[in-house]
């Protein structure tokens, strides 16, 4: 439904996002996770057509957002980080205005509005002036606005930020209920929020893609294993089995085999248990066999970094959750 390929956006000399590629399937809820300033908002603004990119393409429902912006926009409902509300209008007048902007025909307006009001739970404030309603309701008006016209794609930028714990839970429920019927992209800097709501998660850090996986896959990658690369000078066929039989090694994959100065070399990526450091054992084993280790380096550090930032926020969030349920 959404295809983002090789998207790059720079601000002057500063890098916004770099070479971002991912896709979202119809009906899926995709989480867009990353620390503040990672490029989440920039990416969403490009998808919705608010910003342009330096290079790369974005397709929404088959329409290129740069070539065919009007067709693409007709299929997108967008909730920016700050809900775009006119404070002096009533909720009713505001939603009516958005209907007109989106070009929803007169005959369908009442039904569309009723549907969005129902889904976002706005009935209690429908006739009130926006500046007089609570933060949570304002956020709901923002979501209702995005839902108007039943767009295929919903882009929600940090929909729960600044809400109180009860409102956060309600909004999450609401977003979850939107999956299936709509394709949803939801950004957040809170890990548990994303794992609760989303089927798949894109993690970006410093404008780059750090990982795409299911929430379960991510936590497995995070907790269950550690990865490093090792280059060993030794026979191509014999080195990998010897490495994989070491205690604590989960899996290995041969990245490259070649000859340097006529001697065979193997580059392996080794995935191990977190609790067990196999590097020492690997060293002695290889020394015993007479195959020198030429290079050994950890990988996936950036992902760990991202998680470190995210998990510090997670703890804060957990406290809030506990307070809410108490």
């Amino acid at each position: 439904m959404i295809e983002v390929s090789n998207l790059t956006k720079t601000y002057g000399k500063a890098r916004g996002i770099e070479d971002l590629t991912f896709s979202v399937e119809r009906g899926e809820i995709l989480g867009f996770l990353g620390p503040n300033g990672a490029g989440k908002t920039t990416t969403m603004r490009i998808i919705t057509g608010y910003l342009t990119a330096n290079s790369g393409t974005v397709k929404v429902a088959g329409y290129d957002v740069f070539e065919d912006p009007m067709e693409a926009r007709r299929r997108i409902g967008y909730l920016p980080e700050n809900p775009p509300l006119y404070r002096e209008m009533t909720v009713k007048a505001y939603l009516h205005f958005v209907c007109e902007l989106k070009g929803i025909p007169k005959s369908r307006r009442a039904a569309c509005t009723a549907e969005a009001v129902e889904a976002a739970g706005l009935a209690p404030v429908y006739g009130r002036v926006i500046q007089n309603i609570s933060r949570g309701f304002k956020q709901r008006v923002g979501i209702a606005q995005a839902l108007l016209g039943d767009p295929d794609v919903l882009i929600l930028d940090e929909p729960t930020v600044g809400l109180d714990p009860r409102q956060i839970i309600e909004i999450r429920e609401l977003v979850r209920s939107l999956g299936g019927r709509h394709t949803v992209v939801l950004s957040s800097h809170i890990l548990p929020e994303v794992s609760m709501v989303c089927g798949r998660v894109v993690i970006i850090n410093n404008g780059r893609l750090a990982a795409i996986d299911t929430p379960e896959g991510l936590s497995r990658r995070l907790r269950g294993s550690r990865c490093f690369m090792v280059r060993i000078r030794g026979p191509h066929e014999e080195v990998p089995p010897k490495v994989s039989e070491l205690a604590g090694v989960r899996s290995i994959s041969v990245e490259k085999v070649d000859f340097q100065d006529g001697k065979p070399e193997v580059l392996l990526s080794v995935e191990t248990e977190v609790s067990l450091d196999v590097r020492e054992a690997l060293f002695f084993k290889m020394a015993e066999l007479g195959w020198p280790i030429l290079e050994m380096r950890p990988v996936d550090l950036s992902l760990e970094d991202v998680f470190l930032k995210l998990t510090t926020e997670e703890k804060l969030e957990d406290v809030v959750e506990v307070a809410a349920s108490a």
Binding site: T48, Y50, E71, Y78, P83, P84, M89, V98, L101, G103
Partner: protein, 237 residues
Amino acid sequence: MLKTWSIFKREVASYFLSPIAYVMGAVFLLLSGYFFSIILLATHSASMQGVFGNMAVTFIFVAPVLTMRLIAEERKLGTDELLMTAPVSITSIVVGKYLASVFTYLVFLAVTLFYPAILMFYGSPDMGPIFSGYLGMFLFGAACLAAGTFASALTENQMVAGVVGFGVLLLFWILGWVSAAVTGPVGDAISLLSILKHFDDFQKGIIDLSHTLFYVSFIFVFLFLAVRVIDSRRWSA
């Protein structure tokens, strides 16, 4: 077109829900009423000739305040994200907003129709110059508002938009004085750009196509620039 109309309606409602239209309307009408009374008392002639000129100068001060909010505030509040991501062209947005300011101005002008009504009641004014004067006021005011709309597109700070808009209008006003300092064709060419110079003939009862074209192109250029400025922002920020 339909969307321009929606934006226009919302903007007009917003003008008359906020104090801006009332305050600026009051200021404009107070000053023009003052000019009308003083000039009438001084000349004892049933004509609006001097009044239009003074109303036009007054509007140079009023226009930037009317328009400064138009686009700057959308950016400040983030509502531009709604407009710019809706299936609406930037031109529709700018034109809709601009027309709302013109409509507000027309409401002010409509109130001033009171003056010729007074003249008609107590005397027999020559209606020709009054008609052409109102046409001139309309074109002149619409041009001022276009420059103000452009200024509002430049920044998210209303105050800055107001000051820049006023600066632009002041510049186009005083360009008319250049011909006194710079003689010859250069001075003449520069003074042709003056927004007030083109207004003179309208007050005298002359509807000249070249003056009309001047105002229409002035409006077109500034609205075009406003659209370009907004569009270019999608590339930078």
